[in-house]
Symmetry: D2
Subunit: 396 residues, 4 copies
């Protein structure tokens, strides 16, 4: 995981503060849950909240405390097997679809594990002249945990949204109206520089910074709204094969989809499950919980298209973003000059660079300061439980 | 569910006591569990303990309190949807494979629900001249809950036995050595009467009592032991197709089976997961957790066979039984004169009379006085998470 | 495969004639087919006609010529791999679902193979004092090929019936009206002898002859007709769960069944594919191509039941049978004293004695003299491509 | 399907000649097959040769003769249902996995159908002043049939290569040694124009021609050979997860892959099935029949990468290509300004632009003059039955 290092005394304190805030924030996200809510895995992409709490902790133990602190004693040697996600280099692990079978350890023991590791990291960072590489790992661990915070919100919503009783989690993570007037942002043809530039942290997939040539285009200054999406549905779009990719059409048919995830039609009205319960769909808020296939089909229906990730990045300072992640027309591929780091941390991004689509922006569930113009999020095209939406573009 | 009715004043008190003991016993079985242990469904045949606690309660609400007590107010109208098992006549329900997704209601609310219904039944039975049919339903409900107590033990063992940490539940439900000397019990040819006879409770599948002719046979006075089963394994039986049904051989290959469920080989020694943790296999105890296919193959290997359920019943007073259920060579079919009762309770047994094999006897997890000579247990041939074993027979 | 042996000079000629007729008949069944029709395997239970032609030939080569004629040279050593069906003792073979991938050898070469083996058997039987065991194998091989003749008809019908163009095969194998007046045949309680008795050929599963006690019952003198079955359908039976086994109900729903196999509704009329093309359903002919689940549900709907195989055999001389095989209420289990023969021929019947239901009688596709009162046919409960029908019974 | 039109008198004759040659060539490819070989569909991606023969014929009937020749009478109205591939706009069709069940019509009737349509097209084109759009469709139909010629070769190889007897098809379509010395072709950074330019035929996916910026790179002048690939295997690459995409690693494990398709290890030697039978792997010939995952992993192992499709096209005149298609690192996405044509022909390319990887070049099975520098072939990453290989590239 190549990243911009360099830590002074004062940044060390900042980093420690970030670490502690991050650890606290994860626990806050789970605070409204019952112990039982921490257990289920209703689909393979969703992990039990208990697992997120433990896995983000194991990451610090495995990659920071273990290698860099010779005095550290592993909290429980079984946990590596239970809470490794996908790092082949870090040893065996339970199969992903079996995460929801692990009732043990109970939530309280996972919280104890968290406290133990949070304290151990704090002591380790505070008390000695820490190697620069260890501080890099710490930084990566914070960003890693921030990513899991967002997944936690997705997964909690999925777990609660599949209870027949539609329970209330709380008021957080709701979407607001997109209030600005619709405008096209025109962009001129030319060579643009793409990828991270600066001294802060970035992921390896944002590098190397490089040049792309863009033909002239324009990009919308606001997200597609629920109101527009209801028109799309009402037009019969979910049964018009001409709007869809072949794979997308199969996906619709196999799963019998007729609306975004969490939408339910009752007496002719569209309701949606939110973390605040089942409520009428707000036509002014951005549409959310749609797959790449649906985003593509909506753009087809409009006679427009999705922006590429390069078009998005080149224009990103000219519109506001951050309620939902935005599907782009770009497949997730390495930038010129990208190389995987050796070992487990090299598995972080590179091995997923096939069969995935890039999303840009951020969502209401994204940790503050976690995203940036060059940030590349990615998911498989059918993903709907993520906080995803649509911004349109057009060639000129 | 036709059963022998007639309740006097004193039997009413006995019945109420049985009901309360039964309710208490179910809760005792779950007492060693964490809230998290109540949630997972690691395979479709296993139900979450929370579900058993609630379903056995719903049964009394649905079939006793609702129809017979006009003053009863349903505890929560969502619960019928959540906790109906398979009664089509009692309305819609969540799909069986989704039971493990229901983190709500939490365990504590299920226990509140239990208390509410236990009290309502107690009040209802105590305070008024209850219809004979209501007492029949109460009796059935007790026997139904006793069946679920046994399933609870199976399911808890499966959930805990699939934790990588092999947690300890407690000392209950262990098997003892079969200490008696091996003997064959010889049985003469003749007409035997089969099926329930008496004034107590029985299930509809034990009726009508009828006659069968048996050719001469003999039946073992003890169960096959782990020691004998280890010899069977050591002989290469799991790779000798000649010993197996075609379906059984496929079952072995698809699931890569080489030993009973819960057996693990470590350094050349066989260990088994028990509710008391991972321990060496005891060669003197009866073999347990084998499918019908394995029971059949073992008998083939011995040059013997499994008894039919009729042979078992005819001889049952001449040997001891009750550590594990015993696979018979009989498919689960209706007795002459069997008729399903109308409505939901008719779904109790009859609709399962295909593709199942009969087991006779009882197990250490069977409620006291729940079983009897004429009792017909049944499971699909591949079932291994049940407390099942082998008794041999032979034609003369 | 234990069978009644003893061959004199004149029976030797009879046997040879039977063999040659049998070989010829198999080829006649395939005569109306194109080479292309010999190839597909539209579901796993169906084998390509080419495969049947070759497999029945391989059987004589493998079990008769190879072991008993030291001068015989195997026609093609690859064929054992291609045309062994399920005899684990006879070596490796292609997986059953892959039979339809084998375009080679072409039909003409299979016919050459048939001629070669037919001639070799004829020469072998004619020219030397053949061992009694060889004649037993020859007899078994004829009966084996007769069974495949019937499967050939089923499989040809399935292949042609799944062509969108519903091609005509020919006039053979159609059903006639059941013209007799409906009557119940009453049967008294008592001990009946069951199983083959006599000096002719029988399968091992018809032995040992043994005694069963039957409670009093009655059995219909005619088969259920298409007309009656259309009433059953019209009554809503395919959506009334109370009539069905739990497994049967799942089977209906998963496969979206609403009528027997080969039935098609057009403009409110029921048509059925026959080997003579798509024609209106004849209400006077027996219903055909129904699963055990449908047979059971029909009987439930009538307030009757299916006969057991013992009831059927005890009464079989008192009604006519032979248009379609008749589902019984009996699971396919060994008779008392049954033992598998050692080696490959022991795999013929015994290893299928689980998860199957017995059918009794014969069908229009059964070779003349192939069936008898004691004959036990068996198929899995969902089977519908076989020539199966319904006879009702009732307890008295 | 936008394409460069304009037909003069003499080009009309050329076009007709191309049409007739093309039709003849398809039939030549099938000439070595038996009728039986035309039937099987051993995996869902493979179509029966009979289907290709008919489908390419239906294409001319459906899109050329039907719409443009008012006198044309459809040969058989059932054929549209049988031989439409994936054109939703052209009506219903049999499900793709069921193509191998259609034994009817027989091969000879399909050949008759071909003759009929070939003649009808010839007459139609020869005898009247044909609309320019009709000539465009004819041109497209020829290119369409050429694509199916290549698929025919793949599918024939798959069908024959899965016969246990490894039959010989003939000498065609073998690979030669890559004899040139290995060299890197260096390429400078800059803006390159990508996409089709010229007056001939091209597919819509090659347009619009547009500009891309390429960072400096180099690209190999020869394909990776079997010899190099055997070293890759021998190094343990198929069990080193660090070389693989996560999806690729799953693909290996699920399918238990250890070598390219058609490779068989015998006595420590690698053999491969070719259309000329089973022969030792030639170390000097290019590796063939590998998935995108394997191409990627090989490049990782070499410390290199696959070229993007833009890098390939920019450099294509500087190396020879054409024995096998070359996997690129580019996902199959629309070019700027791409729009689907309306109606069925718009389904030709656009709806597949997700979850596919681009291949560039041509193969020994590609029709002469069918490919070009701008030609974009595409397949899903796991595809191995195609004639695919590897060319390496590197960033500078």
């Amino acid at each position: 995981m190549p990243m911009k290092p360099i830590q002074t005394e004062s940044t060390l304190q900042t980093l420690l503060r970030q670490f502690q805030d991050c650890r606290h924030q994860t626990e806050q996200i789970c605070a409204p849950l019952t112990p039982e809510d921490h257990v289920p895995q209703p689909m393979v992409d969703v992990s039990p909240p208990k697992w997120h709490l433990a896995h983000t902790t194991w990451f610090f133990e495995q990659f920071l405390l273990g290698p860099f602190n010779p005095d550290y004693r592993v909290y429980d040697t079984d946990f590596a097997y239970l809470f490794n996600s996908y790092y082949n280099n870090a040893g065996k692990r339970i199969l992903r679809p079996n995460r929801g079978l692990m009732s043990r350890p109970p939530v309280q023991e996972v919280l104890n594990y968290r406290s133990h590791v949070t304290q151990a990291v704090t002591d380790f960072i505070s008390s000695r002249s820490t190697a620069a590489r260890a501080l890099e790992i710490l930084t990566l661990g914070i960003h890693h945990e921030q990513q899991h915070q967002e997944l936690l919100v997705y997964d909690i919503k999925y777990i609660l949204g599949h209870q027949p009783t539609f329970p209330v989690y709380g008021e957080a993570f709701g979407l607001q109206a997109e209030k600005q007037e619709f405008n096209w942002v025109p962009m001129e043809e030319g060579i643009y520089s793409i990828g991270y530039q600066g001294d802060g942290f970035c992921y390896d997939n944002e590098l190397a910074r490089h040049r792309v040539f863009l033909e002239p285009y324009r990009i919308a200054n606001k997200l597609v709204t629920n109101g527009e999406y209801m028109e799309f549905i009402a037009s019969g779009a979910y049964s018009d094969f001409n709007l869809w990719h072949a794979d997308g059409w199969d996906f619709l048919k196999v799963n019998q989809l007729t609306a975004p995830l969490y939408w339910h039609q009752q007496d002719g009205q569209w309701l949606q499950y939110t973390l605040n319960g089942l409520v009428p769909v707000d036509p002014t808020a951005p549409v959310q919980h749609i797959s790449f296939y649906e985003a593509f089909a909506f753009a087809e229906w409009q006679g427009k298209r999705l922006p590429t990730e390069f078009e998005w990045e080149a224009a990103a300072e000219q519109f506001s973003w951050g309620q939902v992640w935005e599907w782009t027309g770009s497949a997730y591929l390495p930038y010129p000059g990208f190389h995987k780091a050796p070992g487990a941390l090299g598995e972080y991004n590179g091995k997923f660079m096939v069969n995935q689509q890039v999303l840009r922006g951020a969502s209401v569930a994204t940790a503050a300061d976690h995203s940036r113009n060059s940030y590349r999020n990615f998911f498989a095209p059918p993903s709907r439980w993520i906080f995803s939406g649509i911004r349109l573009a057009d060639s000129l």
